[in-house]
């Protein structure tokens, strides 16, 4: 079995590299004066590489399935990588409909970031507890992530639209918001970098702290800025925490996760500032000229069509199949678990999006902002709910 696992990780690695190169080629295809929907040599290579990457990742998925004996969507690493794969899949489909090269320049990096993010979590194959052993679980998880992935493409298109149309000649609320969105991508990158660096040097600091009436231990793999509430550092020769995480954070690992979040935000901020120094203007303002030849209406259409596809698929996976599974596993189809509630919130949100667009004529910029907010809700559910709010679905 060990071999198969190695093969599987290699496949994922290859996929990652291929996506990375494909992004560069998509980047190459939007240069120059040409219309951006045009198929060029560069864009042909890019889409072939993307498909090759997708197949490699499919290879990862299948070999890992064989090795673990269950569909690899059962822990944070597996689920999040799968989500990345689905984003690429959704992109490929939409690419063949609209031939929009710029979409690749934005979507693939999102997928790359998500896969890199996933890889920071424990990657060993883990056994399934009985409640997770259900075909409905697989069906639920795969459809949910496909739906969310299509909505992620809608986000990418929305972001392109905003960067193109928001007036960058002067600072405004909109430019600030756009920078915050871009900064959040930097923060994700920051998380990946800082986690990799400290794991390369095997950093470890152990704390002891009271939790639910008992003394627990927690291992920090990043230097503790925020230590556990009432915690005591056990490891010698390590710096002690600068302050303690607030007590209301839930779960044994809450403080450690909080600490990681602080590190990611700081590192991301550092990266973002470097970018600003090099570019000497707002990041969005620096990207804007690249979008000169982008057809804004087409991008708007893609963003909406992605919602039109993503919404029903998300409904099916995130609500319908989820309910069927919950009924089988926990004998109630709905339990107001935080993850479930956030799926409902996502659904409400996109329902509102569709009504505003179809009935109130919210096209273009308004619709693009909504696509961005929608994706923020999805990511909140994917990341923050796991980190902050512990529930039945909490993987980590």
């Amino acid at each position: 079995m060990g071999d198969l696992i190695t093969i599987s990780s290699n496949f994922l690695y290859v996929a990652f590299i291929l996506y990375l190169i494909a992004t560069l080629f998509f980047g190459g295809s939007i240069r120059g004066k040409k219309q951006q929907e045009k198929v060029t040599m560069s864009s042909k290579i890019a889409i072939v590489l993307t498909i090759a990457g997708f197949l490699a990742q499919l290879g990862y998925f299948i070999t890992r399935w064989i090795a673990s004996g269950h569909a690899p969507v059962s822990n944070l690493f597996e689920f999040t990588t799968f989500f990345g794969m689905m984003i690429v899949f959704a992109f490929i489909i939409l690419y063949f409909i609209y031939k929009l090269n710029i979409l690749g320049v934005f979507t693939l990096p999102v997928a790359l970031l998500i896969i890199a993010y996933a890889s920071m979590f424990p990657r060993e194959i883990s056994p399934l507890v009985p409640s997770l052993k259900s075909h409905w679980l697989y069906i639920h998880v795969t459809t949910v992530s496909l739906g969310e992935a299509i909505l992620a493409v809608s986000f990418a298109a929305g972001l392109i639209y905003l960067i193109k149309v928001v007036d960058q000649t002067k600072k405004s609320k909109k430019t600030t918001l756009l920078e915050i969105i871009l900064y959040s991508l930097f923060a994700t990158l920051g998380f990946v970098i800082i986690t990799s660096v400290f794991s390369a040097v095997n950093y470890n600091a152990t704390f002891e702290f009271p939790f639910e009436g008992e003394i627990s231990e927690v291992d920090y793999h990043l230097p503790p800025i925020a230590g556990p509430n009432d915690g005591e550092l056990l490891t010698t020769e390590r710096m002690d925490s600068l302050f303690e995480a607030p007590g209301w954070m839930q779960g044994v690992n809450a403080a450690r996760k909080f600490n990681t979040l602080i590190w990611s935000l700081l590192t991301g901020y550092g990266l973002y500032m470097i970018a600003r120094l090099i570019l000497r203007k707002r990041v969005a303002a620096a990207i804007q000229p690249l979008l000169k030849n982008t057809n804004a209406d087409l991008v708007d259409e893609v963003s909406y069509r992605a919602v039109a596809f993503g919404f029903p698929i998300f409904t099916l996976g995130g609500l319908v199949f989820a309910m069927i599974w919950a009924q089988e596993a926990w004998n109630r189809y709905w339990g107001w678990d935080p993850k479930e509630v956030w799926a409902l919130i996502t659904w409400f949100f996109y329902a509102a999006f569709l009504h505003l667009r179809l009935s109130q004529g919210w096209h273009g910029e308004k619709s693009a902002w909504l696509a961005v907010i929608g994706f923020a809700i999805i990511m909140f559910n994917l990341i923050a709910v796991n980190l902050i709010i512990a529930g039945l679905h909490s993987y980590a």
Binding site: P127, S131, F311, M323, Q327, N331, V341, W342, I345, H355
Partner: protein, 546 residues
């Protein structure tokens, strides 16, 4: 009801009509309603039909109707509900805090002042609060009213549409072209081209209406219907007959009546099985994860036999007949006539019986003078034994612990049984009091002549099964399916129409679709291919350019 006469075709339209039902000409009086004016493109929403909400505004009923039929109001309600739902996830809901904790103190103790506020606002039971229910109900009302307000006039308008349209209707469509000279053959070719693309063509005096995908117009109403059915299904949960939720503990070897079946069905627990990972060879692949995380449960299973009771007289001994034998596992409930049994809980190693002997206190050999066995599921009060001994159970603690020096039972499960026995020696009415349990044997006075010693015990597992019946599920399923059908129907098909309006020698062309003008343009392009008819111009885009 007031009627409006169309100047062009004399058709009598209901009050509030924007575009004449018959010829499509904007009606002078009402055209402003949907933002139409004399020069701009027509607003074709709901075919310019008369909607109640846009027409009446006098009585309170009108106002309520208008309020709920507004999409703005609907979206606002959705957004409020969305925010409220999010608020409920800030701290855990009541059902997710430890069952023994008192919410009144738990929230404050765990989350400080914010937790206390949360609790006092009732947010710990937000989703069953009256105001959350009202929000959902308002959304439901909004969906119903908004849908009726639109679907009825829309249906009328689409059912009665005629091919002959007023010129101003044709020229003020978004897609429009005029061609001066068109041969008869080209006209035929155009119609054929449309038919080939599965347009349904109706003709009247040279005027042509080609139409496809009308059914997609009903998509929103179908999906809203599904939502309402779903909501009603969820509401029926509160009707006692529709929904039962019970629980039963069954020990291994025991046969118990299944609750809520009126003694019709019984269940026997043959064996309860709990497995963890690491036992089988296959599990070697999880080695590392198991080392990190510790033991992980693999399977919870009850091997059960279901019996039917044919004895209907109440109080009589049941006559049991085996119906089926099956296993109940997590994710694999056992289903029986609308009732489902779910594996939800268990107790391992509960004591089944304990055997005691009585011997003389000073006897090193502990020679047995008498013995008795207590069935822990149903302990007898009195035991008459060999050699004239008699024992009564004065107190029984199924799950013994000391609460500040006072013996108590933590639960009803015989997990740590302990007894206070009165031992009556032969021919004596003066009992000696003994306390006996696992690893305990206390002599109350220190002067007992006889001692009760634990000799042997049997243990068994207990399974905890949830008994559910939920007749609302089919309704929810139907609602869900209708919703999905409606969404797909409205989202992936479009209602496309092309009008061909003959002029002296040529034709005017007009096209309208509720979504995706790009697709309609392609259709028209294909249809006019090879004719001299002018391609339509997208007047909305023209306007934008100017």
């Amino acid at each position: 009801m007031k009627k409006i006469t169309c100047e062009a075709c004399q058709h009598l339209n209901p009050e509030g009509t924007v575009l004449c039902e018959s010829c499509g000409k904007p009606l002078e009086e009402d055209q402003y309603i949907d933002g139409n004016n004399k020069t701009k493109l027509l607003n074709m929403r709901y075919e310019g039909s008369s909607r109640r909400s846009q027409t009446y505004n006098k009585s309170i009923v009108d106002q309520i109707w208008n309020f709920f039929s507004s999409v703005k109001v609907g979206v606002t309600l959705i957004v409020i509900t969305l925010i409220a739902s999010a608020a409920g996830t800030i701290f855990p809901q009541r059902m997710y805090i430890p069952p023994t904790a008192s919410p009144a103190t738990y929230y404050e103790d765990t989350y400080g002042i914010l937790g206390q506020i949360y609790y006092q606002l009732g947010f710990h039971e937000l989703y069953s609060s009256w105001w959350y229910m009202i929000l959902i109900a308002l959304i439901g009302i909004s969906i119903i009213i908004a849908s009726i307000d639109r679907v009825v006039p829309l249906y009328r308008a689409l059912k009665h549409q005629k091919p002959v349209r007023h010129k101003s209707f044709i020229s003020r469509q978004r897609l429009h072209s005029k061609t001066e000279d068109v041969s008869k053959e080209d006209k035929e070719l155009l119609i054929k081209g449309l038919k080939k693309q599965r347009y349904k063509v109706t003709e009247d005096n040279g005027h042509v209406l080609a139409e496809k995908g009308r059914f997609s117009r009903w998509g929103p109403y179908v999906n809203h219907c599904g939502l309402i059915i779903f909501l009603l299904g969820a509401l029926l949960r509160f009707v006692p007959f529709m929904y039962i939720d019970d629980f039963v503990w069954v020990r291994e070897g025991e046969t118990k009546v299944i609750p809520e079946t009126h003694s019709k069905y019984y269940i026997e627990n043959k064996e309860f099985i709990m497995e963890t990972y690491g036992d089988s060879e296959e599990d070697a692949r999880f080695e590392q994860a198991l080392a990190d995380k510790g033991p992980v449960a693999k399977n919870f299973q009850t091997n059960a036999v279901i019996y039917e009771n044919s004895e209907t007289t109440i109080g009589a001994e049941p006559k049991l007949e085996k119906v089926l034998e099956d296993s109940i596992r997590v994710n694999h409930p056992l289903k029986l006539e609308g009732i489902s049994l779910y594996q939800t809980s268990y107790q391992l190693n509960e004591f089944k019986s304990m055997s005691f002997i009585i011997h003389e206190t000073d006897d090193q050999e502990e020679e047995e003078l008498a013995s008795f066995t207590v069935d822990l599921a149903d302990p007898a009060r009195e035991y008459n034994l060999d050699n004239g001994f008699r024992v009564t159970i004065d107190q029984y603690f199924a799950d013994y612990y000391l609460d500040n020096g006072i013996p108590r039972s933590q639960s009803d499960h015989p997990k740590n049984p302990a007894f206070v026995f009165s031992v009556y020696p032969p021919n004596s009415d003066d009992p000696e009091v003994s306390f006996a349990g696992i690893g305990r044997n206390v002599d109350a006075t220190g002067q007992n002549e006889y001692k009760v010693g634990l000799q042997n015990f049997e243990i068994r597992d207990v399974t905890g099964l949830t008994v559910r019946r939920d007749y609302t599920l089919p309704i929810l399923i139907i609602g869900g399916i209708i919703f999905m059908i409606g969404v797909v129907q409205g989202m992936y098909w479009q209602h496309r129409r092309v009008w061909i309006h003959p002029t002296e020698n040529g034709v005017w062309l007009a096209g309208h679709t509720n979504k995706n003008y790009f697709g309609l343009k392609k259709d028209i392009e294909k249809a006019i291919d090879g004719t001299t008819i002018q391609m339509v111009v997208d007047q909305a885009e023209e306007n934008k350019k100017e």
